[in-house]
């Protein structure tokens, strides 16, 4: 069972307390964007077999959205961080790199 620590209330929440929200750090496009950019924003989700950054909501806890770094091939959780981050924290990226030397890094 997946357990994520909510960075706001500090509760180590298990899966039934949480709601998955899909890929994190989406770049939003609107009027004026090209068809390709808008398609990418709406449908082209990253789907890596390995390190993945996601949005989660502590739905049956404090109710807040947060972000998590997780491995989709092993279900290992690398860490969680506040939803206000525009990219994964540097120390978290370093931690992932140490555990997954072949990881290409956050793109």
């Amino acid at each position: 069972m997946l357990t994520l620590e909510c960075p706001y209330c500090g509760v180590k929440a298990e899966e039934t307390e949480l709601q998955a929200g899909g890929e994190a750090h989406l770049k939003r496009y609107g009027p004026g964007a090209s068809d390709e950019e808008f398609e990418g924003y709406l449908f082209m989700r990253k789907n890596p077999k390995g390190v993945h950054f996601e949005r989660w909501r502590h739905a049956y806890g404090c109710g807040k959205w947060f972000l998590a770094a997780r491995c989709t091939a092993t279900l290992e959780v690398f860490g969680t961080y506040p939803a206000q981050s525009t990219q994964p924290p540097v120390d978290l990226q370093a931690k992932i790199k140490a555990k997954r030397p072949n990881w290409e890094g956050y793109k």
Partner: protein, 416 residues
């Protein structure tokens, strides 16, 4: 390798020599240097594609390469349900093509796939669902797909073990497809593999693609764990790993991979001879020929490549089904497993050309690929051989950019 015909006569003849003369059903060749067509993925869809390339278009210099073992992915992990009661016209066309091909598959392949058109019900358990399914019935009648809306009394007659009175979700009727049903999933993969092998194609197992080679925007071959293999055309038919393979070829797909689980109970005496899907409460059930109740539910909510899902989804599925089928509450579950399904934004598949010339992709069947295997193979073979197919036209990977969705996510409920 030449295919020896299976028949009652062949069994009688073999009985004379203690059944020692049976040959392997398909060969295990080493890869050749070059093929006209390489299909990546020896599951149902990949093998069916290869089969119809040979049968309909005479293209037999084909290799089907498989990372694991034949039919070991979602082909061997589904709940074997076959139906074609979809809302949208392009879906109904390809799923009904598949269902009709299932009718004669055992004869066509000379391999018993145990197709059992036992009838399939999708229960209406809320007013909204009733309205939605009636709409589907009307659409199906226009599409030439035989379905009907039946009353709760008729549901009870077809499924004596069902509790139609609720209390929370009473059965208000059902969408009934009399020629829907099940088939033996492993046999579908084995039958196609044997037929492909019989046409001189190479089914190469334990051979993982590690890279896709292109020259000037055109595919020239693949790198594998058994060496480099050249090809003129490449078909990617790998379900849950579609994104991984597409990335190797340098393009992206609108796909997310999720875990979907299923389970079977201990075998019990025959008690239900139809397939029942209860989409409001996320569960579907049928009884296998061995007597096991085959149960499936919904997907997990997050990206996952591990072929195992979360326990609470099983709990939800079983909890829901017990309300509708009280007699299963004491059943022990025998096995549980997961598969990785490839979900698209509109919950419809992708059968398409790609940005790389010579590469074709068949994926995105999500939670409902098994029922589509022969139709998908038929259409994909036409697409690869002729460059277009009326069945795949609407299923292009570019439909998301154009906003031309084939929206089955609402129409088909949870369980495809």
């Amino acid at each position: 390798m030449a295919m020896r015909r299976y028949s009652a006569f062949a069994i009688a003849k073999e009985a004379m020599s203690y059944h020692l003369g049976w040959e392997r059903a398909w060969g295990s060749p080493a890869p050749k240097k070059k093929y006209d067509v390489i299909i990546v993925g020896a599951g149902g869809h990949g093998l069916a594609t290869a089969y119809y390339l040979g049968k309909n278009y005479g293209i037999t210099n084909v290799a089907i390469i498989e990372k694991g073992w034949l039919g070991g992915g979602n082909t061997g992990r589904n709940t074997t349900i076959i139906r074609s009661n979809y809302l949208q016209d392009p879906s109904a066309a390809i799923y009904e093509k598949a269902r009709s091909l299932y009718e004669t598959m055992s004869q066509d392949l000379n391999y018993n796939v145990m197709f059992s058109p036992r009838g399939l019900l999708m229960l209406g358990q809320t007013e909204h669902e009733v309205r939605g399914y009636k709409r589907t019935v009307y659409a199906n009648n226009l599409q030439g797909v035989a379905t009907e809306w039946i009353s709760p009394a008729k549901v009870k007659e077809l499924v004596p073990i069902i509790n139609i009175d609720g209390p929370r979700y009473p059965v208000l009727g059902a969408l009934y497809q009399a020629r829907g049903g099940t088939a033996r999933h492993d046999a579908v993969a084995w039958g196609y593999a044997r037929a492909c092998s019989g046409m001189g194609m190479d089914v190469i197992q334990q051979c993982e693609v590690t890279g896709v080679r292109t020259e000037g925007g055109k595919v020239v071959g693949v790198d594998t764990t058994k060496g480099a293999i050249d090809c003129d055309k490449l078909g990617m038919v790998v379900a849950g790993h579609a994104s991984v393979l597409a990335e190797q070829a340098g393009f992206r797909l609108p796909i997310e991979s999720l875990a979907l689980q299923a389970m079977v109970s201990e075998p019990i005496k025959p008690c239900m001879d139809v397939v029942v899907m209860a989409n409001t409460v996320h569960g579907y059930m049928s009884q296998s020929d061995k007597g096991e109740m085959v149960i499936g539910g919904g997907t997990d909510g997050f990206n996952n490549y591990t072929q195992r899902g979360s326990f609470h989804h099983i709990e939800e599925t079983v909890r829901a089904l017990i309300e509708t089928f009280p007699m299963i509450s004491r059943l022990k579950q025998l096995r549980q497993w997961g598969g990785i399904v490839d979900m698209t934004g509109d919950r419809s598949p992708i059968l398409s050309k790609t940005p790389v010339e010579g590469i074709f992709v068949n994926c995105g069947w999500g939670t409902g690929g098994f029922k589509a295997i022969p139709g998908s193979g038929w259409a994909m073979a036409e697409l690869m051989a002729r460059g277009q197919s009326p069945l795949t036209e609407e299923f292009s990977m570019y439909r998301f950019r154009e906003g031309k969705f084939i929206d089955e996510s609402v129409a088909a409920g949870v369980a495809h």
